[in-house]
Amino acid sequence: MDAVGVLIALLKIVVLFAVVLLTVAELVYFERKISAWIQNRIGPNRVGPAGLLQPYADVLKLLMKEDVVPAAANRFLHALAPVVSISIALAALAVVPIAGSPVTLFGRSVIPVIADIDVGVLYILALSSMGVYGLTIGGWASNNKYSLLGGLRSSAQMISYELSMGLSLIGVVMITGSLRLDEIVRHQAGWMWNIVLQPIGFVTFLIAAFAETNRLPFDLPEAEHELVGGYHTEYSSFKFALFYLAEYANMITASAVIATLYLGGWQVPGLSRLGLSTGAEIAMQIGAFLAKTAAMLFFFQWVRWSIPRFRYDQLMNLGWKVMFPAALANIVLTALVLLFVE
């Protein structure tokens, strides 16, 4: 491993982290602004121009709070849980490609993804299945019945929805014939996005993504009306900030993955006909990828402020009796269509 290679890899990781963390800050601002628009309010407008610096003020406030750990808590696991959450949320983005062709940097061509691995789709599934540990361990280590209930709910919810998530992805893999995210995006050239080819799979994957990120209408692990705050009831200060960060980082990861798998990733329809230079094309592709991710993020927040929370039995019924059969039917349907087309 030569020095320049390591340097480029580190640079990519640092850029990704910086972009995600800054986006989280602005995402919190937009969450509050969008909720204000939807509820006919103004939203944060005091700190900085149009309230743009509000998230930084919030972060500072959180950092200055006292870190309270319950006396009967398991101190090590209590501290470990938020770290697990945030690292898993950030790691999944490593396989998402953001442009179509390599960039030249320091005299060598650099692929526009941190790790282009053969099993990209499975890597994302593996990380999302590990994501539950942060909430579960946090809920258990707090030694509080509300936290424990939140942790239990999160594990039950994630097990139920991971199945539909994996099954809906199989349709995409069948069409593409590869688990590599780069090839999945290349396969969606023009308007042949997977959302067109896989409408049922898209809907089931989208719903499962909401459940996996614990966003409303599926935020039962932290349902504040029933569980005070769920798994993070006993968390304060920076540990709470990490959980908060992880929730939004998860949302960014889910949006980027949905954009990559179903919305064509960095594909811009008709881009090759414009006759742009390679550099401009790459810039357009990165822009398209970011725009699609941003649209998905807006959708996440739009849904949060439009749809009320599910009841626990409704959540389980939806997961096992609607989503699971629908995802299975999607596989059979895709197989039949592929059989007759080929």
Binding site: D116, D118, Y123, W140, S155, A156
Partner: protein, 220 residues
């Protein structure tokens, strides 16, 4: 028969130049990282440093696997045991990865660390098994039986490993990066071994149906 001793070594050690030039496509193996991470296809890594890096990965992950494995059976709290078992599975996944079997590595994380252990944690938390302070009453006879049994199994394992390392073809090592990909495994499962594979899936289906029937509890 000439006994060709091939000591264990992480497979990636003998790199052919062909492998390096295509490594961009295929692996997550640590030695390949520079080419994966940067996408460069021309960086040829000096083999000596590579060996040390993959050996280091092997040592760290196998030590983690052994230590966490011991901790799993010695902790008194069920939850701690389960958490160490998760770490153990992750260390095993890293070992698979260092053998270039990235498909197996990821499946190991999804199935064992991700699905089964979540269920185990779920049950432990549901039953709320706190530190129950199991009185460790001594059962010398049982201990003796356990030690004997363990020694027997260890003997079988050592024998198997020695036998395997004798007939270990070096061509397998060279193609490890190709064998470990999902397409290669899919090819094997659905072409060469399709009958045993389908038999296993029917068996599992029967087990699922049986579990559902038992769970319904409509027996007189």
């Amino acid at each position: 028969m000439k006994r060709k001793r091939i000591a264990y070594r992480p497979v990636g050690d003998d790199f052919s130049p062909m492998l390096i030039s295509t490594s961009y496509d295929m692996s997550l193996f640590p030695g390949h990282t520079s080419s994966i991470l940067t996408g460069t296809t021309r960086s040829i890594i000096p083999p000596a440093r590579l060996v040390t890096f993959s050996t280091l990965v092997f040592l760290v992950s196998s030590a983690t696997a052994v230590v966490t494995g011991i901790l799993v059976i010695t902790r008194s709290s069920a939850l701690h045991s389960a958490l160490f078992l998760i770490l153990n599975f992750l260390a095993l996944a890293v070992l698979y990865l260092s053998l270039q079997a990235q498909f197996i590595a990821v499946i190991q994380v999804i199935v064992y660390a991700g699905a089964i252990m979540v269920l185990v944690l779920f049950v432990i938390m549901l039953l709320n098994l706190r530190e129950e302070n199991h009185r460790c009453r001594s059962f010398p006879r049982r201990h003796l039986a356990g030690i004997l049994l363990g020694a027997g199994i260890l003997l079988i394992f050592v024998q198997a490993i020695i036998a395997a390392s004798v007939s270990y073809p070096s061509s397998l090592a060279r193609n490890a990066a190709e064998i470990g990909t999902s397409s290669a495994i899919g090819d094997l499962l659905y072409r060469s071994f399709v009958f045993p594979f389908e038999m296993a899936s029917i068996l599992l289906l029967a087990a699922i149906v049986g579990a559902v029937v038992l769970a319904k509890k409509r027996f007189p």
